[in-house]
Symmetry: C2
Subunit: 383 residues, 2 copies
């Protein structure tokens, strides 16, 4: 096997563009020097279109979970009631964080593979009028569902005064996101998915409504105190040492996204989703999610007549290609293909052609090339 | 389009493995320091299996053509008669270099796309008994032909006392090469093809018979004087400043080749050739060369009902994928796909799936997926 080549198609971390790797290799600079201030100033303005917001976006050194915990500890405190919408493992994570902080947590548990429905959220809010915040996941990485956060935001604001807090980790930067227009009060994402960076940064923004809550919130917090980040950002600084190399990389990521244009980035992800889904439909291998619930960044496949782990093993062995397995009760039941960030239709075609070989080699009698053909047709029609 | 992604599938320069790029980024060292001596010592032993020789392999800073000229000026001088076997543009280059130095040059001109035949070489040597050197091309990059250098070497040594000098630029490191066993007297290759490095190094080795000629050769030469390189190499040094970064990279390339094993590297290239050829046969698009004449490193395709330049343009535009066109009288008649060096069966599948889309988009009514299917079947049967 070709030494060293790896094909990473998990839903994050995702491959790093070469120019981003080069940018991250710049010599270290002092984190209080003017160079860092200039870097932070350049970044802060250019992140806003990705979130669809006029608010400041704070960048913390930490993983996506650090961002989710930051959202919780800044907006709620013990005794508060919240609603957490769970459509998979990352919805559950929001619930666990809330429970850790002794927040009274109502759950809206949706069958894994399905999207949450705004109507159900409305009903729960009517039933529990004290709910102060609703937590949702935009793309549920564990199932490949893209939840209708725009509709849910409307349901939240129509039926309550609660804040609407969204985990956008596995899709912001790859799908249209209009934080201000849709009424998202707190939006969180991470660096290692559509943002094409290594793990290590989390991004978070808050609405004016959210800031009023945050300023009054008594929950103890130090590193995760968003006010400190906001106050420092006014002077193009950070309260604690920023992850400088990742910021170098982020500046280059912004350059790449701007050069492609966000509109084209979102279109590319739509086409990659459609190519992937068309391929498995053509192979008669079931998808976990329906077309309307599907995320442009990750696709979960739920085969009926072969073991996804056998497939994952053989493509790893033959091609050093990695796709993700299932989590929790979907372990061994599904596999998940990431198609986000530094990933192109050409990469999707490669992934599918290798998966076809893998499926054949583990003994399922498929017609080779059929999935590829369907994906090629989608490409020709849609791009 | 995904900013920055490029898919380079020309027959050299070829993609650089990430670890080789990292190796080349090491801090510069003094070219007369012990570090450089250690580097040269490590390299010189490890290159020998690639050439299939016990002779020293000299590494010059220069392109492949510098290596070809080095072979000429060290072995022949004005008044000498030579035979140059021409199967394409790089055979012609050997002839032009000989002619530049006023060497009496007999040509064995083979129709482009065909391989040279040992029998014809035997006859020419019998007809011109004064021939002192025979120049041949192992892989003719311009046509994708792999010439039978083992058979030609036998013909040369059976019928003459001439030296047999071989341009191995576009295949050594990707195909089996037994310089000593086959009787190649001078073998040249370059860094930017199967050796997975940027252009800038040329490699050259000579047999004991060749060294006797080289030592007596009166042709003026300074930078290209092989004796200087040999004498310096005894002390793990070079007569002129070596291309240090490329040597850093070369050390890592050797690591990669050793970790895969040369046997597996050669097998991988065979399979990539077979996959590529099977794909175009399945699409009913003619190949320029016959199966026995085909090179494992590059495939030339000669379509009858579409313009290869249209295809090259559309895949460049859609995918930033580059394949090569034809040279000289084959310009506009063929396109050439490189599949050597840092290239895998997975990459071949990607290339073919993109070329299928390109062919469809320029208006030829092909069945998508058919070429891929044939290539996938070859992969499953052969690897």
């Amino acid at each position: 096997m070709l030494a060293e080549q790896t094909i990473l198609r998990i839903p994050g971390p995702t491959p790093i563009p070469p120019s981003v790797n080069r940018a991250m290799n710049q010599p270290m600079i002092g984190h209080r020097d003017q160079e860092t201030k200039s870097l932070l100033e350049s970044i802060k303005h250019r992140l806003k279109p990705i979130f669809g917001t006029k608010q400041e976006i704070m960048v913390l050194a930490g993983s996506g979970t650090a961002g989710l915990e930051t959202a919780v500890v800044n907006t709620v405190q013990p005794g508060d009631e919240v609603l957490v919408i769970i459509t998979g493992a990352f919805g559950e994570r929001f619930a666990k964080i809330c429970q850790e902080y002794n927040i009274t947590t109502h759950l809206h548990d949706v069958r894994w593979g399905n999207a949450a429905e705004a109507q159900a959220v409305s009903e729960l809010l009517k039933k529990h009028p004290s709910i102060k915040a609703v937590f949702a996941t935009y793309c549920e990485t564990s199932t490949g569902v893209l939840n209708p956060v725009k509709d849910i935001a409307e349901a939240v604001h129509t039926n309550s005064d609660a804040l609407f807090i969204v985990d956008g980790v596995s899709c912001v930067g790859a799908v249209e996101t209009k934080m201000d227009e849709w009424g998202i009060d707190v939006l969180v994402t991470g660096s290692q998915k559509a943002m094409m960076l290594p793990p290590g940064l989390t991004f978070i923004a808050a609405s004016n409504r959210a800031w009023k809550v945050i300023e009054k919130n008594k929950q103890p917090r130090f590193y995760f105190n968003l006010q400190k980040y906001r106050d420092n950002l006014e002077n193009n600084s950070t309260p604690f040492t920023p992850a400088v190399s990742l910021l170098f990389g982020l500046e280059q990521v912004l350059q790449l996204l701007e050069s492609e244009t966000l509109e084209k980035v979102y279109q590319r992800h739509q086409v990659m989703m459609n190519m992937t889904r068309a391929a498995f439909k053509a192979m008669n291998i079931p998808l976990l999610t329906s077309d309307p619930a599907a995320s442009p960044t990750v696709t979960a496949i739920k085969p009926e007549d072969f073991n996804p782990e056998d497939l994952r093993n053989i493509i790893k062995q033959d091609f050093k290609m990695t796709v993700a397995g299932g989590q929790q009760h979907l372990k061994g039941e599904i596999f998940r293909i990431g198609h986000m960030g530094y990933c192109s239709p050409a990469d999707v075609l490669q992934s599918i052609s290798l998966i076809e070989i893998g499926i054949k080699k583990i003994g399922k009698d498929i017609t080779l090339g059929r999935g590829i053909q369907a994906a090629q047709e989608v490409y020709i029609q849609q791009l």
